[in-house]
C-alpha cells in the first residue's frame, strides 16, 4: 500500500546547527504515528517541517505521493491540507468555542458551517459550551476544542504537538484514548509528538524513537520495549539496566545472574564481551532461588514494589515484586531470572551503534 506520508532524508538547520539529520520515515493511511524522544531531539522541528513552518536544507516530504517540501520548493502551510493541534492549544481568546471552530471553516457556506460545527461539538461532547470563551474552559476542554478546530476542515492529515503535556496524568490517559477513538472514527492519519512514552504507547500504532536529530528505531511499542535496536532505545523506553556478560556459544550468554539463553547478534563470537539488558520484569523474587542480592532502594508503586538490588559484585539491577512482598532496605533476598527475549549489545560498539548500517547493506 502506498504510504500516506513519506519523509525522506530530511535535514533542517537553524543557522549552522543541524537539528534534524537525514531523517526518513513513512506512515500508512489511517494510522497514528508518534515521534518520541527526549526534549531537544528535534521531534517538534520534524513536525513543523511537515506542517510547512520550517524549510528543509535537504531531503523531501511527500503526502499522497505529492511532494510538498524539498530544499528548493516549499508549499505554504495553508495549502497542505494539514491540521495541527498546538502544544498550548493556540485557541483565539477573543472567540467563543464555536467561533474558534468556525474560524477554521472559512469559505464554507453558512449552513454547512453550522452543520459541521454542531457535528464536531457532538463529537467532543461540548454542545452546551458552544458559547463559552477559552478562558472559561478547563485544560482538557480546551484541548478538545483545539482538536475539533484542527479537524474541522477535514484535513488529510493531523499533526499533534505534545498535545497532552499541559494536562494532569489522569486526564491525559483518558483524553489520549478519546482522541484515539475520534481519529479512528474519522480515519485520519495523524502524527503525535511527545516525550512521554505512556502517551505514545496509548495513542500510536507506530512509534519512531528519536535522538539527536535521527530516528533510532521505528517500531511498535511492544518491539521497542522488548527488542530495542540500540542502547539509546533500550535506556529511553521503560526501565532497565545493562549488565556485562560474555558470549558462551551462539545461543547463550553468561552473566553474573547465570547463563541466559537466546539469540546473540551475528557479530558476536564466543568469548566476546557484551552488555545484556535486564528489565525489572525479567527478575523474579524467589526465596528458593540460588542467586541472592541485597535490597538497596525501594519505590512503592501501588500494586508493586520496584526494588533496586545490589548484586555481590556491586552491579545494580531492578526488580518488580508484588507489593505484599515487603522487604526492607539492606535485606538479602533470593532472585531468579525469567527471560523471554535476550537483548544484547556488543561492548566495543558502544559509540557507533547507529548510523551507517543502511549504507553498508547497499554496498555489499
Amino acid at each position: 500500500m502506498q504510504p500516506k506520508l513519506e519523509v525522506s532524508q530530511i535535514s533542517v538547520r537553524y543557522g549552522d546547527k543541524e537539528i534534524v539529520r537525514k531523517l526518513s520515515f513513512s506512515l500508512a493511511r489511517g494510522s497514528i504515528g508518534c515521534l518520541l524522544g527526549p526534549s531537544g531531539c528535534g521531534k517538534t522541528t520534524v513536525l513543523r517541517a511537515i506542517a510547512g513552518f520550517e524549510p528543509l536544507s535537504s531531503g523531501h516530504i511527500s503526502v499522497d505521493r505529492q511532494q510538498i517540501s524539498d530544499e528548493d520548493h516549499h508549499l505554504p502551510p495553508e495549502q497542505r491540507q494539514i491540521g495541527m493541534v498546538f502544544q498550548d492549544f493556540a485557541l483565539f481568546p477573543n472567540m467563543t468555542v464555536s467561533g474558534n471552530i468556525r474560524f477554521a471553516l472559512k469559505g464554507w457556506r453558512r449552513k454547512e458551517q453550522q452543520q459541521r460545527i454542531s457535528q464536531l461539538l457532538d463529537m467532543i461532547g461540548m454542545r452546551d459550551l458552544a458559547k463559552a470563551y477559552p478562558h472559561q474552559l478547563s485544560g482538557g476542554q480546551q484541548q478538545r476544542v483545539a482538536l475539533a478546530r484542527a479537524m474541522a476542515p477535514r484535513p488529510s492529515m493531523l499533526l499533534l504537538d505534545e498535545p497532552f503535556s499541559s494536562l494532569d496524568v489522569e486526564l491525559r490517559e483518558q483524553l489520549a484514548q478519546e482522541v484515539r477513538n475520534i481519529l479512528r472514527q474519522e480515519n485520519i492519519t495523524a502524527i503525535l509528538v511527545t516525550h512521554d512514552q505512556q502517551e505514545a504507547f496509548a495513542m500510536a500504532d507506530e512509534i519512531c524513537v528519536m535522538d539527536k536529530g535521527r530516528i533510532q528505531q521505528q517500531d511498535s511499542a511492544y518491539n521497542l520495549y522488548h527488542k530495542p535496536a540500540n542502547r539509546f532505545v533500550a535506556g529511553f523506553i521503560g526501565e532497565g539496566v545493562l549488565i556485562p556478560g560474555v558470549v558462551e556459544s551462539p545461543g547463550s550468554v553468561t552473566t553474573e545472574l547465570g547463563a541466559i539463553q537466546g539469540m546473540v547478534p551475528k557479530g558476536c563470537k564466543p568469548g566476546c564481551k557484551v552488555d545484556v539488558l535486564i528489565r525489572p520484569d525479567d527478575i523474579v523474587h524467589d526465596d528458593a532461588a540460588g542467586e541472592t542480592a541485597v535490597v538497596s532502594e525501594r519505590a512503592f508503586r501501588g500494586s508493586e514494589f520496584l526494588y533496586t538490588l545490589r548484586m555481590p559484585s556491586g552491579i545494580k539491577v531492578l526488580c518488580l515484586a508484588p507489593s505484599h512482598h515487603k522487604h526492607s532496605i539492606g535485606e538479602t533476598i533470593g532472585i531468579r531470572l525469567e527471560f523471554d527475549h535476550l537483548v544484547v549489545f556488543p561492548q566495543e560498539q558502544a559509540a557507533s551503534s547507529t548510523g551507517d548500517s543502511s549504507i553498508c547493506q547497499s554496498f555489499s
Binding site: Q9, K17, F86, D356
Partner: protein, 382 residues
C-alpha cells in the same frame, strides 16, 4: 602524472531495460580524481527518484579521497530519492569504505582558533555590524512582504478587515486622546513661557503668537503625538503579536490559511496611519490653546488679540505640513511594532526585550524621519 587510463573515470550509461548504470574505472586516488568531479557534479544533479546500479568493479585502486568522493555523490543520489545498488566492490574496498565512513561526521564542529585579547573588540564590532545588517535585511523583507499583501488586497478591496481597522483606530486614536491632550497642552505652555521671558525683554510680546503657532503646528505637535503613540501603541502591538507568537496562535492562523499580514499587520498599520494625522490636528488645537492661556496671564495678550494675530501669521501650509508628517510617522511606528512582535521567540522574557527595542526603534525612526522632512522642506523652500 601517469597515463590517461590511470585517471579515474566515470560513465553514465542506460542499459537495455532503461536502468541507469554508472561505471567507474581507473585509479580513484587523490592525484587522479580531477577529471571525475565535474562529470559527477553535472550528472548526479539531474538524476532524481530513479533506481540505478553503480559498478565499481573496474576501479583499479582507491584511496580515502576516492572513498570520500564516492560517498558524497552516493549520499547526494540517495538524498534525491534514488535507489543505488553498488556492485562489484572488492572486500578491500568495502573495508576501506567502512573505515573511512565511520570517521565522517554528519555535522563537523569547527572551532575557531583562540583569539588574542586585542582582537576581541574588533571581532565583537564586526559581529554587531553583521547583526545590524541582518536586522535591516529582515525588516526590509518584512516591509516587502507587507507591501505585496497590500497590493493584492488593493485588487480585492472587500477583503480588507474594516472592522479590525475601526477597532484599532478606537484603541490607538480615541484611547490616546487624554494623554495627547495633556502632553500637547503642556508643550504649548512650556513654549509660551520660554518665549515670553525672552520676548518681554524686547517688548515684543505679541510675537509669542507667531512662535507658538508655527512651532507647535509644524514640529512639536506631530513629534510629541508620534512619540506618545510609539510608546503607547507601538509597544502594545509588539506585545500583542509577541503573545500570539508564543501561544502559537500565529502558526494556527497560518495553517488555517489566514495570512498574518492581512489579519494582524495591515489593520494595525492602516489604523494608525488614519488616526495619527487626526490626533496631530487635535494636538495643534490643544497646544495653541495652552500657549494662548499663558500669553493671556503672563504677557497680557487677550484672547481676541491672540486669535486675531494667529489668523494673520499662521499660514495654513504649516498646519498641513504637520498633519502630512502623520502618516509617515504612523507607518514607521506600526511597522516597527509589528515587525518586532513577529521576532519574539518562544519565551516570555523576549516579549519585554522586543517591546523595548520596538519603542526605541520607533522613536528613533520618527525623529530621523522628522529631521529628513526639515531638511527637505527647507531646501524646497516650503
Amino acid at each position: 602524472m601517469k597515463t590517461m587510463d590511470h585517471q579515474a573515470d566515470v560513465r553514465f550509461l542506460q542499459d537495455e531495460e532503461g536502468e541507469l548504470l554508472v561505471v567507474s574505472s581507473g585509479s580513484w586516488r587523490v592525484a587522479a580524481l580531477k577529471m571525475v568531479v565535474p562529470i559527477l557534479e553535472r550528472q548526479t544533479r539531474n538524476i532524481r527518484n530513479q533506481s540505478l546500479r553503480w559498478d565499481v568493479s573496474r576501479i583499479s585502486s582507491i584511496d580515502s579521497a576516492g572513498i570520500v568522493l564516492f560517498k558524497h555523490y552516493l549520499d547526494q543520489l540517495q538524498a534525491q530519492g534514488c535507489k543505488v545498488e553498488v556492485v562489484g566492490a572488492s572486500p578491500a574496498q568495502q573495508k576501506l569504505y567502512r573505515m573511512v565512513t565511520s570517521y565522517i561526521s554528519a555535522s563537523p564542529e569547527i572551532r575557531g582558533s583562540p583569539q588574542s585579547r586585542l582582537l576581541r573588540p574588533f571581532n565583537r564590532l564586526g559581529e554587531l555590524a553583521m547583526a545590524f545588517l541582518r536586522d535591516i535585511n529582515a525588516f526590509l523583507s518584512f516591509v516587502g512582504e507587507n507591501f505585496v499583501v497590500l497590493m493584492l488586497l488593493l485588487l480585492q478591496p472587500w477583503k480588507f478587515r474594516y472592522r479590525a481597522i475601526v477597532r484599532n483606530i478606537q484603541d490607538a486614536g480615541v484611547g490616546a486622546l487624554p494623554i495627547v491632550t495633556l502632553t500637547s497642552f503642556l508643550i504649548g505652555v512650556v513654549i509660551a513661557y520660554q518665549g515670553a521671558v525672552q520676548l518681554q525683554k524686547f517688548g515684543a510680546n505679541i510675537f509669542v503668537v507667531d512662535m507658538i503657532a508655527i512651532s507647535v503646528t509644524r514640529e512639536l505637535a506631530p513629534l510629541i503625538t508620534a512619540i506618545v503613540v510609539a510608546g503607547r501603541t507601538g509597544s502594545s502591538y509588539t506585545a500583542q503579536i509577541g503573545v500570539m507568537k508564543i501561544t502559537q496562535e500565529i502558526d494556527a492562523m497560518r495553517i488555517m490559511g489566514f495570512e498574518p499580514h492581512r489579519f494582524l499587520v495591515l489593520p494595525r498599520v492602516i489604523a494608525v496611519m488614519i488616526a495619527l494625522p487626526l490626533m496631530i490636528f487635535f494636538a495643534d488645537i490643544i497646544g495653541i490653546l495652552g500657549g494662548m492661556l499663558v500669553a493671556n496671564f503672563h504677557l497680557n495678550i487677550s484672547f481676541t488679540e491672540f486669535i486675531h494675530r494667529l489668523q494673520n501669521v499662521l499660514e495654513v501650509k504649516h498646519v498641513w505640513i504637520g498633519i502630512a508628517k502623520g502618516p509617515f510617522f504612523a507607518w514607521l511606528i506600526a511597522m516597527s511594532g509589528c515587525f518586532r512582535g513577529f521576532q519574539v521567540s518562544r519565551n516570555t522574557e523576549s516579549i519585554g526585550r522586543y517591546t523595548t527595542i520596538s519603542v526605541v526603534n520607533a522613536i528613533f525612526l520618527v525623529i530621523a524621519c522628522d529631521a529628513l522632512f526639515s531638511v527637505l522642506l527647507t531646501e524646497l523652500g516650503i
